[in-house]
Symmetry: C2
Subunit: 199 residues, 2 copies
Amino acid sequence: MAKKQISSKERLINSGALLFAEKGFDGVSVRAICAHAETSMNMIHHYFESKEGLLTVILENFTTEAFVTPLKIIEDSPKSSEDFRLRMEMLFESTLETYIKNRNVVVISNQVQLVMPVLMAYQEKFSDFLNRSKKLGFVRESLDSEMIAGFMLDRINNQVQYAPWINKAYKIDLLKDVEYRKRWCKSNLDLFLNGITTR
Amino acid sequence: MAKKQISSKERLINSGALLFAEKGFDGVSVRAICAHAETSMNMIHHYFESKEGLLTVILENFTTEAFVTPLKIIEDSPKSSEDFRLRMEMLFESTLETYIKNRNVVVISNQVQLVMPVLMAYQEKFSDFLNRSKKLGFVRESLDSEMIAGFMLDRINNQVQYAPWINKAYKIDLLKDVEYRKRWCKSNLDLFLNGITTR
């Protein structure tokens, strides 16, 4: 009995995240979420009080726990230029993985235009890593660390959020094609670390 | 009479764009749009048949005409490395201006997850400019031109789309603060052209 209750709550969270991401918060009814989750109609009220309450829980479930791997990579300062590049490569890949894994909530937070505390916390730690790397001489002094972090996260955020259109327009599936994903990371990181111009 | 009709149609387009961008397509009623535009209730039906019809017209109004200035800049191939950098600087600034001027429709197209033909056409011409610059030796061979264009447009798109949150979180107003905008462009372009690492 207790097990069934936990599971229908979880199902509502998953269905809500999926449907909000697909159709927007205002485009989804309580009825549709319950139908998708295969629960009775009063379960949203029971667990979350309202559709708004369900949204809040979905957003609150997206915590720094999701970023454990990327955050681990930038905890220590780089020991050499090579080490810095390696960490950036691992960071780029694992951050992309995290965004893909949590795609629904990423899409929803963009829709409802909420500043997600987890993303601000992550960006802050990333900036801090870049500042330390700057002091060690691996990042150019003239660039602002927050700007650098923002640039990289914009790129990852959009690639994940708009993956379905990109797939439609260019027949590329970032979400499923792991080989493509690896190439995409390498190529973007090359631009990011080295710039586009020849010299 | 004819003049008044044109003007109420225009008002509906402007109000629709503003409200769709603010609250999402599903979050806005026909009634709210008409009230905002100060027209009578049947005017949306009269001009656009439905709310969907109004949305279509708003999206179709966003044509390559909006990108005249950026497209002019990348029409000719660069004559030198310096010329390439200058053109990229002008391109970055004028593309940002275009996105800011058309912010509502940019936000809406992101919401409804439609591939906008105007953005695809612009991206194609930008890639073409980069390919020509590559052949002339100003852009690194190993980078994919479409990826480069996508990286830059992601950055601009997000900065404009999320300007209200950025303003809230960091007290920076990209949309209104022209001085900040200039600095933002310079700093981002520096990263984009030269990368973040020291060598």
